[in-house]
């Protein structure tokens, strides 16, 4: 049950250069990224230029000792250190060693991480397993400790230390590159390139590398930050950059030594280190955001605009509804935020479900069936909101309820089961526990009573060994068993309405029959109404009393099951019936409906089914088609409904 907002993956086969330049342009649109890049560029210039412009600083053993430990002044902008040397000069010159250290580590990381990562991800198999094992091994070594071991041999040797650091952290990049290469390799256009006989090295250079540049940069910026902290840490311990060489870490150590006399001195090098680490970290963040642009989940779902309007009006009078209507939906319009503005996934949807009645909602994928079901429960999720409409249930409009109030309805009044039983249960908890939780959440039963109820529920859904099933984890269940458990959970609060969203789609045929049989018997025993969302008219014929046919976000026909199958009043319904595999007696070709459901936000004017309809006339193009009464409790959104019905 995934609700995919209109989202088209752009598969760029044209090559890497255009993708690269687009990536850079998007990155440069972000002020954060630009600020980080500018800072790092300035730092690089300083690191190269200042030792040339200030040649004496690196070897300066002491400055004016009489002028030591001074705070900032016009002469010494950042003050003087314990030996009277200018802090600013030492900070500038000290940046060189720091950056050389980071650079060495990064070069080693890239030389090891990228080729080996590509190799492991691309070749796979035993080589992949061996390299991963080694990577895990190396990553579980304490890097700092081993670097110090190396430094006890190569005394004061910055390059040796940072090469070691590079070797020890290369597995981090290796893993990122490998993980990024694996899915790229699976993609169709790579397979096509292989079939076309292109050499692996060409494919890697041309197709794989450009796509994993983002993750590599992110990881490199993090590793650079780590290398910088290590380099300054080693200098702080005077394991590298011994006196008189200026270094940021050494300057902090100097500042700590004279902390009691002059508290200022640890600030300049501390800020320099922190800023550089921040610049690297934020750059990495920006690159990650750019390379995953458009996917990032929004943090809080926007509240329904309708709800906000109604809130202002305070207590709306309770709406009186007929006793023979359990759920009454009127003019429900739901839209989703997309990059091109709001698109409507369901528009002016109206239908009713009576107590104990089973109503099927049918249509192809993308017709707004699931959207409608989720809107009723206030569970549209990110970016989706109810624009307009009402959903009356037990005397209240569900769409105006606060989150707290609709929570009371969920589970105890209306329960929900989805088409993916295997992902509907929490993998970390036992079945019995999850059912008991649902019982406690939706009924006053506690303790032993709740446990007994769980047992009862498991028996009701006809699981072969309820006691054993209660002790199992979801991954130990088969699809059919999982769906029974999901149904048991939905029954926990004895709801008056069960919304079943494609409950049998993910199951094999025998399971489908059993689950439908189960639903039917539960309904018979408990008088529970069912709103059954499905694309399968066979299922509808099997279990439903009435049917709502949806197409492209609209209800196009409502009818009793008998009417619908005998005298369908809409060409779309006819087409659905014709393509239903259950109707095929002979081994002929299965007819399909030519064309596809129009994209949300790209609806044709007039009848939405027009482009695929075989019975259209010019009248079909004129304006929005209303839902017309064509028989007793039989409506159709077709201008030719009567003619269609008689064909």
């Amino acid at each position: 049950m995934t609700l995919v907002a209109p989202f088209t993956e752009i598969t760029d086969v044209s090559g890497s250069s255009s993708a690269d330049s687009r990536f850079v342009r998007r990155l440069l649109r972000r002020p954060q990224a630009v600020a980080c890049l500018v800072y790092l560029a300035v730092l690089a210039v300083v690191a190269i230029a200042s030792p040339i412009l200030l040649p004496d600083v690196a070897a300066e053993r002491a400055g004016d000792l009489a002028d030591s430990l001074q705070g900032p002044s016009s002469q010494h902008w950042l003050g003087t250190d314990s030996l009277g040397r200018d802090v600013l000069q030492r900070l500038l010159v000290g940046s060189q060693d720091t950056l050389i250290g980071v650079g060495v580590a990064l070069v080693v990381v890239m030389l090891l991480g990228i080729p080996l990562g590509l190799l492991a991800g691309y070749v796979g198999g035993r080589l992949d397993r061996t390299l991963c094992w080694i990577a895990d091994l190396v990553l579980s070594l304490p890097a700092m400790v081993l670097v110090i071991v190396v430094l006890s041999v190569f005394s004061q040797n910055l390059v040796a230390a940072m090469v070691t650091m590079g070797v020890l952290t290369a597995p981090a990049l290796f893993r990122v590159v490998r993980a990024a290469t694996l899915p790229v390799r699976e993609q169709l256009y790579i397979a096509a390139a292989v079939v076309a006989g292109l050499s692996p090295s060409y494919i890697v250079r041309r197709h794989v590398l450009p796509r994993i540049v983002g993750p590599i940069i992110v990881q490199l910026s993090l590793l650079a930050a780590g290398a910088l902290l290590l380099q300054t840490g080693l200098a702080f311990l005077s394991l590298i950059a011994g006196p008189p060489a200026p270094s940021w870490g050494g300057m902090v150590a100097d500042g700590v030594g004279v902390m009691f006399q002059q508290g200022w001195l640890i600030w300049p090098p501390g800020i320099a280190i922190a800023l550089t680490v921040l610049a690297l970290g934020l750059l990495g963040d920006a690159v990650r955001d750019v390379s995953t642009e458009g996917w990032s989940p929004k943090r809080s779902p926007s509240r329904s605009t309708k709800q906000r309007e109604k809130k202002k009006g305070a207590d709306a009078p309770a709406i009186s509804v007929d006793d023979d209507v359990l759920l009454g939906i009127r003019n429900l319009t739901v839209s989703f935020a997309s990059s091109g503005g709001n698109v409507r996934a369901a528009e002016r949807v109206s239908f009713e479900v009576g107590p104990g009645e089973t109503v099927g909602v049918v249509g192809e994928s993308g017709c707004g069936k699931t959207t409608t079901a989720l809107a009723i429960l206030g569970m549209l999720g990110h970016g989706g909101h109810v624009e307009d409409g009402e959903a009356h249930f037990a005397g209240q409009d569900l769409l105006t309820l606060s989150e707290r109030d609709i929570q009371e309805v969920r589970g105890s009044e209306i329960a929900y089961i989805s088409q993916e039983p295997m992902v509907s249960l929490d993998p970390a908890f036992r079945i019995g526990w999850q059912l008991e939780e649902a019982v406690r959440a939706n009924t006053p039963l506690r303790g032993a009573d709740a446990k007994r109820r769980v047992q009862e529920l498991l028996e009701q859904v006809q699981l072969p060994d309820p006691t054993r099933a209660a002790r199992m984890y979801p991954h130990e269940l088969s699809g059919g068993m999982a769906q029974r458990v999901v149904i048991a959970r939905a029954l926990a609060g004895e709801p008056r309405l069960l919304i079943a969203d494609e409950p049998t789609t993910a199951l094999d045929v025998t399971m489908q029959v059993e689950i439908l049989e189960l639903l039917r018997s539960l309904q018979r025993d408990h008088g529970m109404a069912i709103l059954l969302v499905t694309h399968d008219l066979g299922v509808v014929a099997d279990i439903c009393d009435r049917v709502v046919v949806m197409y492209a976000g609209e209800v196009v026909e409502t009818a009793s099951v008998a009417d619908l199958f005998a005298r369908p009043g809409h060409p779309y319904t006819q087409a659905l019936l014709a393509s239903n595999p259950h109707n095929q007696h002979a081994a002929g070709m299965l007819p399909t409906i030519p064309g596809s459901v129009p994209e949300l936000g790209a609806m044709p004017p007039g009848c939405r089914f027009l482009p695929r309809c075989t019975q259209s006339t010019p009248a079909c193009e004129l304006g929005t088609i209303p839902l017309l009464q064509i028989g007793e409790r039989h409506e159709s959104r077709c201008v030719h409904a009567r003619e269609v019905r008689s064909t």
């Binding site: 995934t2 094992w133 091994l137 990553l139 579980s140 070594l141 304490p142 890097a143 700092m144 400790v145 081993l146 110090i148 071991v149 006890s152 041999v153 005394s155 902290l229 300054t232 840490g233 702080f236 311990l237 394991l239 870490g249 902090v252 700590v256 902390m259 508290g263 640890i266 501390g270 280190i273 922190a274 680490v277 921040l278 970290g281 809080s300 929570q407 009371e408 969920r410 589970g411 105890s412 329960a415 929900y416 089961i417 989805s418 993916e420 509907s424 249960l425 929490d426 970390a428 908890f429 036992r430 939780e437 959440a441 939706n442 984890y473 991954h475 130990e476 959970r489 926990a492 609060g493």
Partner: protein, 313 residues
Amino acid sequence: MVSMVIRRVFTAVPLLLLVSSLSFVLLSLTPGDAARQILGTRGTPEQYEALRQQLGLDQPVYEQFWHWLSRAVTGDFGTSIINGTSVAGEIWARLPVTLSLISGAILVSVVVGVAGGVFSAVKDGWLARAIDALVLVVWALPVFWVGSMLVVVFAIKLEWLPAVGYVPLSESPTAWARSLALPVFALSLGSVAAVVKQTREAMLDVLGSDYIRMAAANGIPPRSLIFRHALKNAAIPVVTVVGLQTIGLFGGAVLIENLFAVPGLGSLLVTSALSNDIPAVQAVAVVFTLVVIIVNFAVDIAYGLLNPKLRSS
């Protein structure tokens, strides 16, 4: 579970051999060997040769290694060439100090980090944004610098806690806790930031998953969704980060012990490295690796407890 234990042992042995043999080979490359180190510039060539023989340095490296290894497995790491004391004795005396420092930091990281991460994942508003910003700043600050600032503020300005030094637990529990407070705080900040970040991302990830939506659709209250369902599932990546952070904490401990004059393994490592005390450096490296292996092992067990799929397979 059993197969996992066996697998861990299979990785632990090569890891220890790798570290010890690498450090052994590296250290045998040192220009001045231990004999030269002990004699300094005074000894005659005869004395030097005699000492080399006595220390076994005239033998090939692999024999030296074998010799060292066969004693190391019995817990004998030789004697320090600087002051002639037993390296193993020194390590045993210092290990509890480092372990209390590190376990304190892990405790703080997990408690504060998970609480902060859950809060920032679930709540919007200025406090959640403040946590995000703080995480970033804390992550960018070097541990030795933070430690220094803490000393300035809490020890010098406010005089609440001692600036440096360590009091053993057996002497006075309160003084022990007070002497560790600042080092633990300084050491844990970075990993707190990492745990907050990972917890936040894992929580957001899990809270967006189908089973949370389905549980919500069937009336499970938000409190349970967050603190039972989401937290238990999010704990798996969080445990990974805590494990990695713990390995990093050993590096941080080296810095912190030196800054706060805490007599642990980290300060032993640095003083030994600065004075080329080869047996001590080697032994500390091996002990560190051993402790890290034990930590990884604990992380694996935690995985098994959190993820039923791993347990049954």
